[in-house]
């Protein structure tokens, strides 16, 4: 499988860079911590209100940190003039897309797990019994977010005002994923069985399939001129 190998090389390259500098990861974890402080200041001690807004807040945190992390996907390539290297890489470019997507997924899941743990500690939420369901919902949502996020990050990497354009393009497209995950997370945290949110899970799964397929098919056009 040469295709898988080429995708893996991209993942390995990005992980090595990230492992050496830990630039993005450190900044994102610190950012998540700050978010928790902000939420605490905004909400105050009202526990009842907290329970009803918790899923939304959690996803707000995931999205804000996701936007920051995803937006940086191709920054390294641009700043170090490796863009042409990617463009000139032989063969199917979708391997590069899948590699970048896998790297982003790993990074986002790491940050999300940390944020979730911090949430449980600071807001006294017992997420233990909901953990398997929560993992499924968060995983499905993150795939969708990262799939389009990676594609749009490549699209905006070479454009001026990219910090602005990236979220402006990404957020409206991500509405189905956001609605689905927030609703499903809400149900899971309230202790409802996964069957009660089956239609949301199906929507998320369908969205993930569509988004990843679009990314694989169109990434070529973004990369080569």
């Amino acid at each position: 499988m040469r295709f898988a190998r080429r995708a893996w090389i991209v993942v390995w390259k990005d992980l090595t860079i990230e492992g050496r500098s830990k630039e993005t990861l450190n900044a994102l974890l610190f950012f998540s911590l700050l978010l928790l402080f902000l939420f605490q200041f905004a909400l105050g001690p009202d526990r009842e209100r907290l329970a009803s807004v918790l899923p939304g807040l959690l996803w707000l945190g995931f999205i804000l940190s996701g936007l920051l992390g995803l937006g940086r996907t191709f920054v390294g390539e641009r700043e170090n003039d490796c863009w042409d290297g990617l463009r000139l890489a032989p063969g199917d470019k979708s391997a590069i897309y899948l590699g970048k997507l896998a790297g982003n997924l790993l990074l986002m899941l790491l940050v999300e797990t940390t944020l979730l743990a911090l949430f449980a500690v600071f807001f006294n939420v017992d997420i233990g019994p909901a953990a398997p369901g929560l993992a499924l919902v968060v995983g499905l949502g993150t795939i969708g977010l990262a799939a389009i996020g990676t594609l749009f990050a490549a699209m905006t990497a070479q454009v001026r005002a990219r910090e602005l354009l990236f979220p402006v393009l990404l957020l409206p497209v991500q509405v189905p994923v956001l609605l689905g995950t927030v609703k499903a997370t809400e149900a899971v945290l309230l202790g409802e069985p996964l069957g009660a949110v089956a239609h949301w899970l199906r929507l998320l799964a369908a969205a993930d399939v569509v988004y990843v397929a679009i990314g694989v098919l169109t990434f070529d056009f973004i990369l080569d001129g």
């Binding site: 009842e48 239609h199 369908a206 569509v210 397929a213 694989v216 098919l217």
Partner: protein
């Protein structure tokens, strides 16, 4: 992989996922608002609800001076007293459908912060059938809530 083969396969996957979504979407039964009998079964005070039903004929009490509105919403099986402060929309009326947003108060009534009139998708000419009946409206409400 052949480029064209990739596009055909990818397009097929996308089309299949979307077709499945549309199929599931059309046949899905989802709850957009709860009905009075559902609220009666397990009311949680303080929790925000969207409640939909028919305004029971003869139940509307409207005080234009204090802008206080009280009426009863029913789905034929259960009924809930609703209180609201403000002017109701034009289409709001006895025997018609309405959806209210608000919460269940401890005093045993529903405090609505927003009242919305729900009209059916059937448009009527003056000499057509006169005014939709109670059953018709219940059907509209239930149809919206259970199918399509």
């Amino acid at each position: 992989m052949n480029r064209n083969a990739k596009f055909i396969a990818g397009g097929g996957v996308i089309a299949a996922a979307l077709a499945y979504m549309i199929y599931a979407g059309v046949t899905q039964s989802a709850v957009y608002f709860i009905t009075p009998s559902e609220l009666r079964a397990a009311p949680v005070s303080g929790k925000a609800y969207r409640l939909g039903g028919i305004v029971v004929p003869g139940s509307v009490q409207w005080n234009p001076a204090s802008l206080e509105l009280a009426f009863t919403l029913s789905d034929g099986r259960g009924s809930v007293p609703v209180r609201h402060r403000g002017t109701p929309p034009d289409l709001f009326g006895e025997g018609r459908g309405a959806v209210v947003e608000g919460n269940w108060s401890r005093e045993g009534h529903f405090t609505a912060s927003l009242i919305m009139a729900k009209h059916s998708e059937d448009y009527k000419a003056p000499r057509g059938t006169s005014g939709a009946g109670y059953q018709d409206l219940i059907r509209t409400l239930e149809k919206d809530g259970s199918s399509r």
